[in-house]
Symmetry: C2
Subunit: 202 residues, 2 copies
């Protein structure tokens, strides 16, 4: 028996998603056969609208409904400080925390030579333009790329470039150390080293 | 910052899928932002067509493009033997093996009292009708529900009912034992018990 075309098409679509194998795609597809048509239609609608109803903020590269985005156009936020992150989800995570009140800059990736992603493949030039730009004076850049090998290298590269543009700019790296709930016994060497170096007086 | 509506809608749609948490739904949604619009459109199209372009086979309850399905209408297959399975994916798995040449009956579930699924909630009555029906004489029923507690109970229930309908009907249960590649050392007691009981001469 051949799998019906309509089922095969959906399995193929699911399989294109990251981390989704053939079996999982099949499982989801057959699950959806038992779901009301209205739910399928609204799922389809959300997929179609995902990119058509969202905009890139031309200032910080965040994704939002407006350009400039709601963060860049919020005058109550500190316009002198920019937090540089890898992905839009990082902005959402930091905003959920609610402690940071400055602006953002989304790189949409990280420098990753093994995957052929160099400085020109991510939104770095736009960050440099923002620092160079007239008008609002940027005073601090927080480098909040992930504490992975690529994230660290990206942070290093950005810091070096920014220093060349403006030697007086304050450039900081997001704090690294033990996360809440962690166990020193099971922490890796790099995390412990970072925790030691990043210790603070109490 | 509020998550844009278009993004939130898609996250919600993904979250309704089984085994999908909020973080995974978010990850998939933000991944899809980097995908061409044509891929999103074809994904949406497959979702819309999933149920509209497939049919329930009124004979075996399998899902296919035609009714009766390609298996039921294939006269080269043995019409005297019916293999009872829980889900359509089980048919695909057995068909991939290619050794079985009879018909199927898809229950679309299993008797599962803890989840309020009784015999009337799955396609059991249709199976009994096929056995009772005039014309083609069913000679054997293979009970191929999963070897889980619910699957075993469902098989027991069906066997009892079928015997009441036709005491001469041959009713078999799919073979249970150690799967290829397994390790006796790590097998559970039930599997070992089944393997012992299901031993065959060589």
């Amino acid at each position: 028996m051949k799998t019906p075309k309509a089922i095969e098409n959906l399995i193929n679509s699911f399989e294109k998603l990251p981390g989704m194998g053939h079996k999982s795609a099949q499982r989801l597809t057959f699950y959806l056969l038992h779901v009301p048509q209205t739910q399928l239609d609204s799922f389809a609608e959300s997929l179609k609208n995902l990119k058509t109803k969202t905009l890139f903020c031309s200032n910080c590269m965040m994704i939002d409904e407006t350009d400039p985005c709601s963060i860049c156009s919020d005058s109550s936020r500190d316009q002198n400080i920019i937090c540089v992150v890898e992905d839009p989800v990082d902005v959402l995570a930091l905003e959920k925390g609610g402690t940071y009140k400055g602006l953002y800059h989304v790189l949409h990736g990280k420098i990753d030579p093994l995957n052929n992603i160099g400085p020109d493949e991510i939104y770095l030039e736009q960050l440099f333009q923002r620092v160079k730009g007239e008008g609002v004076r940027v005073k601090e850049i927080i480098l909040a790329t992930n504490p992975t090998m690529e994230g660290e290298a990206t942070a290093m590269y950005i810091a070096k470039q920014l220093k060349a543009i403006n030697p007086e700019l304050k450039i900081t790296r997001i704090g690294r150390g033990l996360p809440i709930g962690a166990d020193i016994e099971y922490a890796d060497d790099m995390t412990l080293k970072n925790a030691m170096e990043g210790r603070s007086e109490i």
